[in-house]
């Protein structure tokens, strides 16, 4: 029996001996990358068109409202109302960003690369969700800041006026956060079902748009309780219901006060619970989805 003649050559591969970053850094990198992806930063000009189109429109609307208020003195919309009025643009923004965040990775099959890092299964969707929610919050919050700055510099009664504006702004920002969390969790869940960005975008818009007319139909049903609970049927009206219950006068201006208040009746807490349950359900399904998809 001849001696084995094979040899193992040392061709100079080096082991990595530097510091190894852990879970937190991986999560942070994914989050930051997701946030940059949302606005197309670090990507080609084509990827920037749609996000910045939406950002441009909301900023112009905020600037317009600020200008009208400083010139004529009429409050066109409060900070909290801003999110309500921009709901169509928010839907469009979700349809643009959510597929970019999750569908691309599904399509190009890079998930095994992600999960070969010290990254628990749940961290990937949570980082994406956090990035998406932050992007939405920035989209709704930044124009409110523009409106605040405009109001603060044109206020007539000094620091007290600025303080009052600030007290109005903070609930508006919180409300924008609610919008962001609800819409981000639904949008990401829908987008994570398909690897095709086109279908993901269509699906997201279908989910959000289809539910709004259901509200309109339910609210003419011959039952007061059904009418008052009708706003549960659509994510955007659900968020508005929570806003009406928790913010009250900040969301409703004088002309529609009594009317909107009675629209949801005494079901305010139901809306809050429903919103929490909706987000929890979406996040749970999203986590379940990534437990499965990673094993593909």
């Amino acid at each position: 029996m001849p001696e084995p003649t094979g040899v193992i050559h040392d061709i100079g591969y080096q082991r990595y001996t530097g510091p190894r970053l852990g879970r937190r850094q991986v999560f942070g990198a994914l989050y930051l990358h997701g946030l940059r992806t949302a606005f197309g930063l670090g990507r080609s000009a084509k990827a920037k068109i749609f996000p910045w189109l939406v950002v441009g429109i909301v900023t112009v609307v905020a600037a317009g409202a600020t200008a009208v208020r400083s010139q004529i003195g009429e409050v066109v919309m409060t900070y909290a109302q801003f999110a309500d009025n921009m709901s169509w643009l928010v839907i469009f923004f979700v349809a643009v960003v959510a597929p970019e965040l999750v569908s691309r990775d599904l399509r190009s099959g890079v998930l095994p690369l992600y999960f070969s890092r010290p990254l628990p299964r749940s961290d990937y969707p949570l980082a994406k969700l956090l990035a998406m929610a932050t992007a939405l919050w920035l989209l709704l919050g930044a124009p409110q800041l523009v409106m605040f700055l405009g109001a603060a510099f044109t206020t007539g009664d000094g620091m007290r006026g600025v303080w009052n504006e600030l007290l109005d702004l903070l609930p508006g920002l919180l409300y924008a956060g609610l919008w962001a969390v609800v819409f981000a969790s639904i949008g990401l869940l829908v987008a994570s079902l398909t690897g095709k960005r086109a279908f993901a975008a269509g699906g997201i818009v279908a989910v959000f748009l289809m539910t709004t007319p259901i509200v309109a139909t339910l609210s003419v049903m011959p039952s007061r309780a059904v009418n008052e609970l009708a706003f549960l049927a659509s994510p955007s009206t659900l968020v508005q219901g929570v806003g009406v219950w928790s913010l009250g006068d900040l969301l409703i201006t004088e002309n529609g006060a009594g009317q909107t208040e009675s629209l949801i009746g005494d079901f305010g807490p139901v809306y809050a619970v429903a919103a929490v349950l909706l987000v929890a359900a979406c996040v749970t399904l999203l986590l379940a989805r990534y437990r499965k998809v990673a094993a593909r």
């Binding site: 084509k46 349809a95 279908a206 049903m221």
Partner: protein
């Protein structure tokens, strides 16, 4: 039925994601049946279901998903090359695909709209809605098929049209209604079956002419674009 249309139909129906299209018309029918069964006045639920859900959401969204799917999906995964290298005139590729897209979206939308129209008012309203929705499906499909050849992001551009142009601007700036397929469909349906349920903002001749113009114009544009179509990898 030509091979191209057969391939297109199989591409649409052969995937599980086609089932995603079914909830939209189903909700439309369920809401109409529910309202009718509870005895709500059609004047109250009619506009919300027929126009708000049917013509403003279901028709454009179904036409968008189907219309960009027939050609856009093949461009996306690169299999369009197989069709382009066959010795076929370009119009023989675009027209069958457009026909399949129109047929699928017309059936998906017209049937539930017919049911809802019958429940709301009369058989005449149902037929009028179905006919107008089919005409609208043709115009929307031509627009979205052409979009999928003009740009690499047809769905998002189509959404800009549906959401921002028809949805957002149509509510505030009445001038944009002259260039909105949704308004043409409403005008045509209202002409075919005059009821108090539909409110037309454009005149019927304008609607008819513009629908025909959009259908033909974007079909010609699509054929022309496909003539000089360059197969390029996706950037970014």
């Amino acid at each position: 039925m030509s091979t191209v249309s057969w391939i297109t139909a199989r591409g649409l129906f052969g995937r599980r994601r086609f089932l995603l299209l079914l909830p939209l018309p189903a909700v439309l029918v369920v809401l109409a049946v529910l309202s009718r069964a509870l005895g709500v006045d059609p004047g109250e639920w009619g506009p919300a279901v027929l126009v708000g859900l049917g013509l403003a959401v279901v028709l454009p969204v179904v036409a968008l998903i189907v219309g960009t799917g027939v050609l856009g999906a093949e461009i996306d995964d690169g299999t369009v090359v197989h069709i382009l290298t066959k010795p076929l005139p370009r119009w023989q590729i675009v027209l069958p695909k457009l026909a399949v897209a129109t047929g699928v979206s017309a059936v998906t939308v017209a049937v539930p709209l017919y049911v809802a129209g019958v429940l709301a008012d009369s058989v005449r309203l149902g037929l009028a809605l179905a006919a107008a929705a089919s005409a609208g499906a043709l115009a929307y499909s031509a627009l979205f098929v052409a979009l999928s050849l003009v740009t690499r992001r047809p769905v998002l551009l189509g959404l800009v049209y549906v959401l921002i142009w028809e949805g957002l601007l149509g509510n505030f700036v009445s001038g944009t209604k002259v260039l909105s397929i949704q308004q043409y469909v409403i005008a045509l349906a209202d002409r075919l079956a005059p009821t108090g349920l539909l409110e037309a903002d454009v005149s019927v001749p304008v609607a008819a002419v513009m629908t025909a113009l959009i259908s033909v114009g974007f079909t010609v544009l699509a054929i022309d674009r496909l003539r000089s179509f360059s197969v390029a990898g996706e950037t970014s």
